[in-house]
Amino acid sequence: MSIDSTDRAIIAATQAGLPLVPHPYASVAADLGLSEAALIERMQDMQERRIIRRVAVAPNHYALGMTANGMSVWDVEDARIADLGPQVGALEFVSHCYERPRSLPDWPYNLFAMIHGASRDEVEEKRAAIAALLGQACRNSDILYSSRILKKTGLRLRSKEG
């Protein structure tokens, strides 16, 4: 995936959000010295290339009561992960879902799914729902709760040329 300097300028101008006005793309385009149509075409193209996942609202899930979360991890048969991974990722309470390498013998798990809920009990219920979905294809699982944030730095695009 490659992005040029115009794409980079668009990302820098929009990653903190679009202005809440009737024609937000026209407003951003004016700031960047582009036409509204050119900006929209660029962004549609980035969406097709999956650089933009989607344009949507980002709710603050803590403010809406989803205060508990746990990193659930699963040892899923290799032959089944391509089929089961997307089903786990599509669940409404899963915010991140990745296949990662096992690190044997310390770590037998190859599927990671971050589960969110209103309480620890709710997270555990949702974890049980994933276990039911995976069935026999899952040999073992665990869940890791965070007890402390040790460092949190936002991942923002570095401002560099080109």
């Binding site: 990722g89 899963v94 990745y98 007890s147 695009l157």
Partner: protein
């Protein structure tokens, strides 16, 4: 502020992928039976109250360049604070969480290139005398996450 029913309907509807078009809010306002101006005022209020963080594109961080890797360490309890200080002193360490597991420290490395991930992980091992397990993303599955408002 407490979101009312209309605010909640907006929150639920705007978590869908919104088409990139000149007037993205018009059709949704019509659908919800309110004026576009009213929809925008409500979004502005919810943003001020930090019920939403933003409305806009979600970018794939890796697609913008750079490399990322989830890492984990088993840190003995009596060394924990010392190791936290050492690990966090690396600018490449983006997030770091203590977690309830034998592998009790989990962090994300963010670097310019894939090779830098390896270099930084090896420096961390040298600095701490502990193993750094690497869990790079092999495949990302579609994310259906929604917050029911």
């Amino acid at each position: 502020m407490t979101p009312d029913d209309t605010d909640r309907a907006i929150l639920n509807r705007l978590q869908d992928r919104i088409p990139i078009a000149p007037a993205p809010f018009d059709a949704i306002a019509t659908e919800l039976g309110i004026a576009t101006e009213n929809l925008l005022e409500r979004l502005e209020r919810m943003k001020e109250a930090r019920i939403i963080t933003r409305f806009g594109p979600f970018y794939d961080a890796a697609a913008m360049g750079g490399a990322f890797c989830l890492c984990a360490m088993e840190v003995p309890e009596d060394q924990f604070e010392t190791v936290v200080t050492k690990v966090n002193s690396f600018a490449e360490v983006a997030h770091n969480y203590e977690r309830s597991h034998r592998l009790n420290m989990w962090f994300v490395l963010a670097t310019e290139t894939e090779e830098d991930i390896e270099t930084v992980a090896m420096s961390l091992e040298r600095e701490t005398g502990l193993r750094v397990l690497r869990f790079p993303k092999l495949r990302e599955f579609f994310i259906g996450f929604r917050v029911a408002a």
